[in-house]
Amino acid sequence: MHMADALISPVVGGTMWVASAGVAAYSIKKIQSDLDQKKIPLMGVMGAFIFAAQMINFTIPATGSSGHLGGGMLLSVLLGPYAGFLTMASILAIQALFFADGGLLAYGCNVFNLGFFTCFIAYPLIYKQIMRRGYTPARMFSAAMLSAVIGLQLGAFGVVLETLFSGKTELPFNTFVLLMQPIHLAIGVVEGLVTAAVIGFVWKARPEIIENASIGKALGSISIKKVMTGLVVVALFTGGILSWFASSHPDGLEWSMFKTAGVEELESSDGIHQTAGEIQEKTAFLPDYNFKAAESEAEPSDSESEEAWPAVSAGTSVSGVVGGTLTLALACLIGLGISIVKRRGKASAA
Amino acid sequence: MSHHITEVKELHYVYPDGLEALSGVSFRIYHGESVGLVGANGAGKSTLLMLLVGVLFPSKGEVMVGEMPVNKKTLPLIRQRVGMVFQNPDDQLFMNTVYDDVAFGPRNYNLGEPEVEKRVIQSIEKVGIAHLKDRAPYKLSGGEKRSAAIATILSMIPDILAMDEPSSGLDPKSRRRLINLLKGFSHTKIIASHDLDMVLELCERTMVLKNGKLVADGPTAEILNDAVLLENCGLEIPLGLQNCPVCGSTK
């Protein structure tokens, strides 16, 4: 579910960075006004705990396969939504840096998908609502299960939208949704089961740990009104960005709308016709190809217009292949050269 | 130097779950004294140390450090004066390099970077780990971690060192190094430990806790030789005072 850089566009990555940074800034303000400095080391150590616990293999009953903990729900239950969100952000940062698990540009998307939906939607609107009337094992189980599943479904849908708006994949909206949502339903069920098992155990052994997190403290309580206001702001913001995006890059949005319609339209024969025609055009234009490439590249803002077919560039032409090979060879040579020089330097120094 | 007396009067501490960890403990520790605090598991040693540094506050009674009572108002001063070394150095070394960890305390007291650096260097040199300055804690051995933890305390320039099981988990050589290091300190020392041989070497005075009560307080040589008392408190005579197990000759 961690999104990689290669599949997103700078606009989507940037937008989600801004959105996540906004939520983080709000959360920091919240935890700082709370002045419970005990929470700072707790967040740090809990982040490390989730990081390590994600590597435990839980055998799923009756299936023989195994699943893992994501931890978003557990974090918000134990730390409250604000601290939970920030802790998730730290975990994702370390994963992106040390394991390249989730890209750096896609970091905003990942924080939003895995942190925002669980901590600010699933937790306050589902978990808290079900648990309002006090703890019973059955209630806690359904709360953890429902919130984990819905949190992950929203996150997966976020992945779908962010990927489609980025326009790097040819996957049609329907197929993508049909691919992502059921997989994440299964993942969500495991997440819910593990979360419920852990909360259930801790509740029996050390009830104060969970009570401290969820009751009384400003950290635990979150008003629905505020969440809704926040959502509306985010929606307006995203809408604004997207409409700006749409107006300056009609093709990009059209592209994703087009995808929504389904597979068959893509397979339509006129696409091939068109392409064939363009190929002809292309071969004819081969001599002054370079000018054209430079021209169309000269406007980076135009990069989203995926359907601007002529830009299918040198990859198709002989000169492109030759140039590409030379570039790679040169890169290898430079790399080798540096390491040889370095080794010599070491040897002579030694 | 009367202002360095640490005094505890009729100290009681009850945990939130009702467990009475300390009941009616009183003692005085004078400047430069080195005191061993011994007792079985759960006797109240760690609780007593926590009360001395104001991590916990007594349910009844009073703790005085110098002429200051330990309470919320005096905490910043108390904590500068009393340094506590935790049982698990991993809990105490929470930064990612030794330097940053040792500098954490002085920086919190807004000392300014040149002074901070001076203190850090002094502290890590004193415990002999200057070469590990930029190491990450996970790369340190058990002994090195212990030294680093002590350095984090020394950089605060405390008068009193409170230590919880400083020799636990150390190999014999590291333990020996630690004992020699502590011998060289002129601070007032309060050492809670099961390592009675170390207490014998380091402390001229020993206090014995049993079920939250102070059952003995006197010269170490006397107390650690009292087989009946030690047996009663879940302890035994340190090896250093026992007969030689091979030839049976008395020490």
Binding site: D5, E297, V312, A331 | P76
Partner: protein, 270 residues
């Protein structure tokens, strides 16, 4: 369980690489972080069907890996582990996009394949960029750059604490799992009846540890604010590093360098 130890070693490996002292390591962390971000944006901003134009950007990781003396094999291994995830979705492009872009006798190339290759290259470049920045900078100096970027100190401290205790807790989890599997040698994973108690006990211990850490911090004067030492100054070299790379990325982005080289060469050959 082997996975945990493996991951731990990977973190420590990158950590150790970051302690080297090379030209690249000595560049200011902020300059490196910004360069990396600009690089990734440049790579990702190439359109869907771009292949050749992306190639010159490989110079950046190649030069950094060479100058920073980063061993190639472990980095490539990580690359192989990560890239398939991004490719999973990209691999479907050839299925959906059949438009023919190029034919030469029996060989036809569809738009789907071109966009797929583009994703492959972008994956490799962005992953390399992320790994090299951490391998030449390390967590401490990254957090330093974050502070200069006005990331709140609380968040930076929290990130550092998480990073610090990952080592400790991964070892602890590995110990617990070892104990579990010693007594349940036939289980592949942890069985349902132990889910709560195994993870729950770890969690309770984590809470206790957090409490101890908090006390250790408070005893050394922590009052909720993270105070840090002085910062290394940004030098002309650092600015040059940032500027030169940015100019190169811009050039690679604006001109299709391989095509230029190619037409030059093929022109000469003709």
């Amino acid at each position: 369980m082997a996975g945990i130890i493996q991951s731990l070693y990977e973190i420590r490996f990158l950590d150790e690489l970051a302690e080297k002292r090379t030209v690249i390591h000595n560049i200011h962390p902020l300059a490196k972080l910004l360069t990396t971000l600009i690089y990734i944006v440049a790579v990702v901003s190439f359109e869907k069907y771009e292949v050749s134009g992306l190639l010159p950007l490989i110079f950046y990781p190649v030069i950094i890996i060479g100058l920073a003396e980063i061993p190639l094999l472990p980095i490539l291994k990580r690359l192989l582990l990560v890239v398939p995830f991004a490719l999973g979705i990209g691999a479907l492009n050839p299925v959906f996009d059949h438009r023919i872009v190029f034919t030469a006798g029996w060989f036809t190339l569809t738009g789907g394949w071109v966009s797929f290759f583009s994703i492959v290259i972008k994956s490799i470049l962005t992953v390399l960029a992320a790994l090299t920045v951490i391998a030449t900078t390390g967590m401490n100096r990254i957090s330093f750059a974050l502070r200069l970027l006005f990331v709140p100190r609380v968040l930076v401290l929290q990130l550092l604490l998480t990073y610090r205790y990952i080592s400790v807790l991964m070892e602890e989890v590995a110990r617990v799992l070892r104990a579990y599997h010693m007594r349940a040698p036939l289980h592949k994973g942890v069985r349902y009846n132990a889910w709560g108690s195994l993870a729950g006990n770890l969690l309770i211990r984590t809470f206790e540890r957090a409490q101890n850490v908090y006390q250790a911090m408070v005893l050394r004067g922590f009052t909720g604010e993270y105070k840090t030492g002085g910062a290394p100054q940004i030098t002309i070299t650092d600015l040059l590093y940032l500027t030169v790379w940015t100019l190169f990325f811009a050039a690679a982005r604006l001109f299709d360098i391989p095509a230029l080289i190619g037409s030059l060469v093929t022109g000469v050959v003709k």
